[in-house]
């Protein structure tokens, strides 16, 4: 049979919902190569339409798996709440990172940006006598400014986000060292001078489960960003830009301006993370969270967001962060060396990206 009728019959098969006013097609010759693949194809289609399912399945399986492996200790209220506390910071960074990755970008500077914002908050309030609240505001503004700076470099100089943020990562890190002189701001000083900085580290006990306020804030950030991405034009434009920037531009979206705003919002989220991190760690240390960049990218990728942009969900990144948390907690309770935690995480990243690639093939 000729190729055209082949193509059409394939199209018609793929879309039972879409009526075929194209005309009737001889389908007989085509049935043989559908039967066997159909189940796998169905799964592929289903995952394609529901990208969050994969991380949810991995999360559930890994919780069950580590339950067996590590025994009751893993399921203790103490351990489960500890996992949530541990993923709070990476989770917030992953939320910001998701915004950038959805635009087909990547931000290597998030952790450095966060430490810089926390340095502003701590330095101004503890050592320079500024009231705490304005110091926090300065920190938040620094987050927006550093984020927007990345965005401007990406859009004005037309440089790839990878290179821009590789550069600013080093720049921000150098600024942190410059402002602090490599000295940490001690937890006890913060407690006396600016206890508000520790606010998100406060704990509440819910039936044995101990949560920090920061954990709730993290979940609040995810819910807020979910609304932003799914219910507003701004959110739809984030996806459109990541999907096909040129098409978005031709559709009337001012893509450069949008990109700067996306990087700025990500910066704000990161700066909120800075405040939370002071509560979590207690002190402000210039060398903390050095691996935060890569951890946040790991969480986003395991959460099912495509590095090629336009595809993924913000909630997936929350699951991604939790998966990382469950893995490191489970493996360490099971008594495995830290090296195996990293090994497992590495495998997880490769599998996650592999699955993403496979799912994306559905459109071809």
């Amino acid at each position: 049979m000729n190729k055209i009728s082949d193509d059409i019959s394939k199209d018609l098969k793929d879309q039972p919902n879409f009526s075929s006013d194209i005309g009737e097609v001889d389908q007989d010759h085509h049935t043989f190569d559908i039967g066997e693949q159909s189940n796998l194809k169905k799964i592929q289609h289903f995952l394609h339409g529901n990208p969050t399912i994969v991380p949810v399945i991995i999360l559930v399986l890994s919780v069950i798996g580590f339950g067996f492996l590590a025994g009751g200790k893993f399921f203790s209220a103490f351990n489960l709440s500890l996992i949530v506390q541990q993923v709070t910071i990476v989770g917030i960074l992953a939320a910001a990172q998701t915004l950038i990755i959805l635009t087909a970008g990547i931000d290597l500077s998030v952790a450095a940006m966060m430490v810089l914002a926390s340095v502003f908050m701590g330095k101004l309030s503890v050592e320079m006598g500024m009231p705490t609240l304005p110091a926090i505001v300065v920190g938040l503004v620094s987050g927006v400014a550093t984020g927007a700076f990345n965005g401007l470099l990406v859009t004005r100089l037309k440089l790839p986000p990878f290179i821009v943020t590789l550069g600013t990562w080093n720049i921000f890190f150098a600024l942190v060292i410059f402002f602090t002189g490599s000295q940490s701001i001690r937890s006890s000083d913060i407690e006396i001078q600016a206890p508000l900085l520790h606010f998100w580290g406060e704990r509440i006990n819910l039936g044995g489960f101990v949560f920090t306020y920061g954990a709730f804030l993290m979940i609040g950030i995810f819910i807020f960003l979910w609304f932003l991405l799914n219910k507003t034009a701004w959110g739809r434009h984030v996806y459109a830009i990541g999907d096909d920037k040129e098409a978005a531009e031709l559709s009337g979206i001012r893509t450069d301006r949008m990109l700067v705003s996306i990087y700025a919002v990500a910066g704000l989220v990161v700066a909120i993370g800075a405040w939370v991190s002071i509560g979590r760690v207690g002190s402000v240390s210039p060398t903390s969270f050095y691996e935060g960049n890569l951890d946040s990218i790991t969480a986003v990728v395991i959460g099912g967001t495509s590095l090629f942009g336009g595809r993924g969900t913000i909630i997936g990144s929350l699951f991604g962060a939790l998966i990382v948390g469950v893995f490191s907690s489970g493996l360490s309770i099971a008594g495995l060396d830290v090296l195996w935690q990293r090994f497992a995480l590495g495998c997880l990243i490769i599998i996650a990206v592999g699955i993403d690639q496979w799912i994306r093939k559905v459109s071809n």
Binding site: I4, D7, I8, Q15, H237, D243, S363
Partner: protein, 254 residues
């Protein structure tokens, strides 16, 4: 009858290469104007100037009798000149509705829309459904289907529905059938008829002579950067058009 869109003496040079030299074009209400020309005749430059992607060195464009200038496709679109690009400019990972309203979303009324900027998904879905059925494209049960799950012809349909939905005065279609199979092309040609039936004039650029001869009311032949002639497809054969285009035959005086 007054033309709705007029291009007068458009010229454009790229270095020493003359892409357009005093090119003219008129589009009348309710017609399909086919634009044909050999490769390098300057027809894509002409179209790019009309849709705002290229700014001409000299000459003017009149829409509804008024001189208009635009420096981007977005400005042209605001004035009512919509273009269906060859690559369609759709976002595959977004739904049909999202694509149709990309950059022109409808917000909810009152507090939710004004301050929280929430989208009115229902209004957009209803409108999208209405537009698609007006063009005879509907029977789509799921308006939230992702565009990447549609076939080439269906995508074209979505792009055309989008182009004709927002107070459009003129639609420019660039090679709409180039990437399609026989049956899908047929559907798109019917679609062009539907758009004309709704009173929106179309400029159709195509390499496919049978398609142009089938749907065009008049055919603008472009050669060496300018308009050579405008012919009536009922009075000339396709072979004549090709001969005019390539210079093998003297063009008729009009």
């Amino acid at each position: 009858m007054e033309p709705i869109l007029v291009a007068k003496n458009l010229s454009k040079k790229y270095g020493k290469v003359v892409a357009l030299e005093s090119a003219n074009l008129e589009l009348y209400p309710g017609e399909v104007l086919g634009v044909i020309g050999d490769n390098g005749a300057g027809k894509s430059t002409l179209i790019k100037v009309l849709c705002g992607a290229v700014t001409p060195d000299s000459g003017e464009i009149l829409l509804d009798g008024k001189t208009v200038t635009f420096t981007s496709p977005i400005e042209a679109r605001t004035l009512g000149i919509e273009t269906v690009y060859q690559n369609l400019a759709l976002s595959p990972a977004l739904s049909i509705t999202d694509n149709m309203f990309l950059g022109r979303e409808i917000r909810q009324k009152g507090f939710m829309g004004k301050f929280l900027k929430f989208l009115d998904k229902k209004a957009m879905e209803d409108e999208a459904r209405k537009r698609l059925s007006e063009l005879g494209l509907l029977t789509i049960q799921n308006i939230n289907q992702l565009v990447e799950t549609l076939s080439g012809g269906q995508r074209q349909g979505v792009a055309v529905a989008r182009a004709t939905s927002f107070g459009t005065k003129v639609v420019i279609m660039d090679e709409p059938t180039a990437a399609l199979g026989v049956k899908e092309s047929r559907r798109v040609l019917e679609l062009i008829g539907e758009v004309r039936a709704r009173g929106i004039p179309i400029i159709l650029i195509s390499h496919n002579m049978p398609h142009v001869f089938e749907v065009a009311d008049r055919i603008h032949v472009h050669r060496l950067g300018t308009r050579l002639c405008v012919i009536d497809p009922k009075k000339y054969e396709m072979s004549d058009a090709v001969a005019f285009m390539t210079g093998a035959k003297e063009a008729p005086k009009s």
